[in-house]
Symmetry: C2
Subunit: 288 residues, 2 copies
């Protein structure tokens, strides 16, 4: 995303926890800064994209964080999928310093980031969102204004809730069809365009049939997102059994050492791959 | 489907358990027969579409069933979503009488049937399938040859397995978004075209938002199909927790008296409709 901003002609100042991550960006003319605060000291808009809510908290609210270096009128945009509550807290902390904070998680994966076709789900101040809009022309295809602080995160978590049991559905259909002895390509052709159709059935099921378990989206990142959603469920007093089931199956997958495979690896938590007429994915060891 | 065959110029002889069901068809020039056997006595191809496997068994294998009136060279096509094992048994029984039996369940719903845009999933003899193909030009958009006897049913059950946990996913996303206070139309717009996308999210979620719980597909019929799939799972020695969960939630819905609503009514098994900012569907009574 930073590379696309740089390519679009923006001056980019960058801090990454491991500097080598930024090598290509620095080669394209971006400037290095030694901390998030040092980025904020020179930038009009600071984009944050890290891992867990604790990382977001440190990068934005920490001693050397973005707000520690901010000037009034600055905008901080958190692209991390993170906690809605933290987004609300950051917006309040930012406002006390005359800074606008937007929660703006994205969907579209690595590919969407490389190609500039992400969807950005934005929670927070309208004027700040409009001020950042020209930057998103370089990184996103769709920008959705979701409401006040935290609603971008809630919308992204809704997206992950819809994916969770949907992945179970897709993988169970393949397990069923395999064990029933059906030709899997024919079966996908028969069911993909009707009421059973989904993005995962059209895009991830064919990868499973090809033995391709490489990540579009890492299992371990999806587990993080589902746990954020489950925490919110507890706070909201709701119980989502499909999400709970999906999280438990994916947690099993992480236990099996598959956290760095793509989310389509869920099928490995539902069936022994050696019982299915499917190519064994690279990196899955022989049975004992 | 019979109406479309008649409109396409085929001579149609019809038996229905309640004769009034066939009134329109008889008005369009179809001929009444007093039993499935009496239909078979005059037809080259007999299409069966009933409710449960026990009904199929009676209509095809019973005393006054199709095979009791069949002549060698006839073809019987079962369009019911039914048991794969029964399909295999019927094909064998038919063959002993020189008759071909195809299992040919459909997807596409009432609307696909009215408009002639069904998908037919066919298991059984190739020559018989090719002989029936001209008839399906009047009723279907897509005919998929799935393999030998029973594979049409297995493919349709795979379709239902993919729908089952997928419906849980769609409804849980709406419950989550509602309780998180999001604007639901905006949320659907943000998530429907990406990795969370599905036929149910695009087609059934908007009906829930509109308070429209009318059936495209009846809850009670879907429960029947899921139970057929679960029986097959036991026979095949596989465990599909998402399907099991979906069946238990839909069974609760039937207990609540909602068996004749559409499958999108699943949301009523996950949340009290009065806790969600959604219109209460017609026919759902006030809380006590």
């Amino acid at each position: 995303m930073a590379g696309r901003l740089r390519a679009a002609g923006y001056e980019v100042t960058v801090f990454t926890r491991r500097q080598e991550t930024a090598a290509d960006l620095l080669g394209s003319g971006a400037t290095w800064a030694d901390s998030p605060a040092a980025v904020a000291a020179v930038a009009d808009v600071v984009f944050v994209m890290v891992g867990y809510p604790a990382d977001v908290r440190q990068v934005v609210l920490g001693e050397e964080g973005v707000l520690a270096g901010s000037r009034p009128g600055m905008i901080v945009v958190d692209h991390t999928t993170s906690s809605p509550e933290l987004a609300v807290a950051m917006a309040a902390a930012a406002q006390r310093q005359g800074v606008a904070s937007l929660d703006a998680p994205v969907s579209g994966g690595d590919r969407g980031a490389r190609e500039g076709t992400l969807t950005v789900m934005v929670g927070g101040d309208d004027a700040a969102r409009q001020a950042v809009a020209p930057c998103w022309q370089a990184t996103a295809k769709t920008v959705v204004a979701c409401g006040g602080p935290g609603t971008g995160q809630q919308t992204k978590l809704t997206n992950q809730v819809a994916i969770a049991a949907g992945m179970v559905a897709m993988c169970e259909a393949l397990v069923y069809a395999s064990r029933a002895g059906l030709d899997l390509e024919t079966t996908l052709r028969a069911i993909s365009s009707g009421a059973a159709g989904s993005w995962s059935l059209s895009n991830l099921a064919p990868r499973i049939l090809a033995g391709d378990f490489q990540p579009g989206f890492f299992v371990e990142h999806f587990v993080k997102d589902m746990r954020l959603a489950l925490e919110e469920c507890r706070r909201l007093g709701i119980s989502l059994p499909g999400l709970t089931l999906a999280e438990s199956l994916y947690a099993r997958l992480v236990d099996q050492g598959h956290g760095r495979l793509g989310t389509q690896a869920l099928i490995l938590a539902l069936a022994d791959i050696d019982d299915l007429p499917l190519p064994r994915p690279a990196g899955i060891s022989d049975p004992a």
